[in-house]
Point group: C2
């Protein structure tokens, strides 16, 4: 079943209903997709989900307070990680791979530090370590992009996720079109309260003391575009430098959404990495 | 035909005999392998050559003065590049991909700057830009490793190409064993005069003004281990940053010989990149 037609399911997690969708055969270690700031289930590139799903059981979900999930979004990455772990456990899973994109990459780090045995391998895209350079500016960058997008009649992701070159903007428009492929059973919109809590959590992560990444011995694939304006690319270098078992992949003429721009290459790398 | 049993051939290049070996089917754009300091044909990892040869026509050669090739090795990267171009043209080729490892990565940059139309795509491994940090120390690092290797009864590449961890040294020994798989028709040894000329060329490259990498619009895959003591890994970041169309890949717990340690992953990345 493709992600486009995957039904939105719900599961009770500590008394709160969490929304999720699945793709791929239910065998082997599932890959849990951890979403970005402002994202709901419809913000995952169907090419990336279906690319992973060719070989893996993929589960994307709305964390507490996001999209169709109930409850109020907490204002720290660590609480988001605890909610994600509770969701994973509620599904009856005891070993997962994680793909964390942007805020989801912070959550992935917090999950593996809190529950190392729950995780087999991690992919961290468009993200960075606690205290990483420029990360606490993400709210200001978002605000600036919202203003620019309004003035230009474009989507904020044209500015936030892709380089401003011809190639970058063509990739942005192709990505945005893919996000609209799903016509039925679309997710609920994100609330302003949730965005506010996420921005608070991101700001705190950007201001936090560096965490002990040297203690994470899991295999990690760190990936980004070479010109990320939201989580500056230097943070991907830093993650790869500080994590003892990290492989780094950086795409040219690409931004925060490099894994979507280079979805073919990224999926191939990820499938090789997850083997 | 596998690289292990590929016959050593010769071709006249401007009156000098150049030695080379081929693998893979003779169709499509060939991949020319550009060798490292001290290397002869037997120093290429057969897994990497055969991995490329599954999809591409691969040609490895001894540049002027190296191994079984005649003539005297020149003392500049630019002259080495002109010799390499003359060899490629002598084979009747007008479009090639390049894999340049270490010194070969410098030569690859000089080739594409001199003859941009000759080259389709480049892979630059364990290398760096002109004037790159620490590159002019390569001679001193080599000397130090020769002393350590002599004292420890090990191969210098144990120190030069791999990290000093258990994993790194196991990979070093496996790599060295692979280099000994070929029993017949092995190449001539490198001469001290050639090593001297190569070190002079490397030192000059390390001291040179930065070249205009922004003018190279070819697709480039830059790859290295995360702890390269010969061409420090920061130089791979710099190459990827300065080249407009470069993809970067960095392997964990690996050194200068990261592409040999991770030959499976590297070959898959390279085949995807060369598609």
């Amino acid at each position: 079943m493709s992600f486009e037609t995957a039904p939105t399911k719900t599961i009770e997690v500590n008394g709160t209903s969490f929304a999720y969708r699945e793709a791929g055969e239910k065998s082997g270690v599932p890959v849990i997709f951890l979403h970005h700031l402002t994202a709901v289930l419809d913000d995952w590139d169907p090419r990336v989900v279906d690319g992973f799903a060719a070989k893996h059981h993929v589960i994307a979900f709305d964390n507490r307070g996001v999209g169709a999930s109930g409850g109020a979004t907490p204002a720290t990455v660590e609480e988001m990680a605890r909610d994600a772990v509770a969701f994973i456990r509620a599904l009856g899973l005891s070993k997962v791979d994680l793909l964390g994109f942007s805020l989801g990459g912070f959550v992935a780090q917090a999950i593996v530090q809190e529950q190392p045995d729950l995780v087999r391998k991690l992919i961290i895209a468009g993200s960075g370590p606690a205290g990483g350079e420029g990360i606490s500016n993400m709210g200001a960058v978002l605000q600036d992009a919202l203003a620019k997008a309004g003035a230009a009649g474009k989507h904020p992701k044209n500015f936030l996720f892709f380089s401003q070159t011809g190639n970058g903007q063509a990739a942005a428009n192709a990505f945005l079109a893919r996000l609209n492929e799903r016509k039925n059973d679309r997710d609920a919109a994100i609330s302003n309260a949730t965005i506010g809590a996420q921005l608070t959590a991101i700001h705190a992560w950007g201001q936090a003391e560096p965490s002990k990444l040297s203690a994470i011995h899991h295999p990690v694939l760190v990936v980004n575009g070479d010109d990320d304006v939201m989580a500056p690319t230097i943070n991907s270098f830093e993650l790869a430098r500080l994590l003892p078992n990290a492989q780094l992949s950086i795409f040219p003429d690409a931004g925060h959404g490099g894994i979507f721009q280079y979805h073919d290459v990224f999926v191939q790398q990820a499938l090789d990495f997850l083997r």
